[in-house]
Symmetry: C2
Subunit: 142 residues, 2 copies
């Protein structure tokens, strides 16, 4: 697999992942995932192992949430000495998520497997906070 192929694949897989999530198409969603996918949330130190549980986690997620992709950054995989040792690509997505009135950002790090499916997802959910004092001379608000 050439590096160009593997990037394109994982970027497209991540685009399908978000489209399937937004349309609650759990069959299409499951098809983007490796069977032994690992999902991690460093903020809560939670981990989910396996496609079945990870699909269930998303399917059961409460609330009327909607996700819009803001940015995708995709890195080509690197071909190794043989096809077997090629390193799959990495993708990061920044999504804007609404849950009723609430608005959030989600940052997701994706690692692919050799078939262009998602082998690992690590999610961050940063929340709004008040700006610390002492830097008003440098910043503007938006």
């Amino acid at each position: 697999m050439t590096s160009t192929t593997s990037t394109t694949d994982l970027r497209r897989t991540v685009e399908r992942f978000w489209a399937a999530t937004e349309s609650r198409d759990w069959t299409a969603f499951a098809e983007t995932l490796a069977e032994d996918v690992v999902y991690e949330l460093p903020q809560t130190r939670e981990r989910i192992r396996g496609r079945e549980r990870y699909v269930e986690f998303n399917r059961e997620y409460p609330g009327d949430w909607h996700a819009r992709v803001e940015r995708i950054v995709a890195e080509p995989g690197r071909a190794g000495d043989s096809e077997q040792s090629g390193r799959p690509g990495q993708v990061v997505s920044w999504t804007h998520v609404t849950m009723g009135q609430e608005e959030m950002h989600a940052i997701s790090f994706f690692t692919g497997d050799a078939d262009g499916r998602i082998a690992a997802v690590t999610d961050f959910w940063p929340e709004p906070y008040e700006p610390p004092a002492g830097r008003v001379h440098l910043v503007e608000r938006y």
Copy 2:
């Protein structure tokens, strides 16, 4: 500029950005930045415009903080019809930051300019939170 060159450049620039930050080498840090760099923090809706103020913001940042790069994801730029219209690459870094006893993750989205310098940085600082109820049947803790 070929797409390979521009990725490599911005990835290296971001590596130098973090090395200079960690060593408080504000001259080397400034050299990684475009003069009109824009820094944004979506969580506080703060924005800093210009290299001078952004260097100052980092130089003045209080506390004995240390940053270790966990992961870098770098996307090649795309060559346009001419050298002038080539799109510079994008890089995301995930860093582990300590401030005394406190440990944090920082996610930074970088956009480059045509010279391989940093034209925009958008930072997220996700904090730990308690896992919501109702999903213990799917998750393990780590």
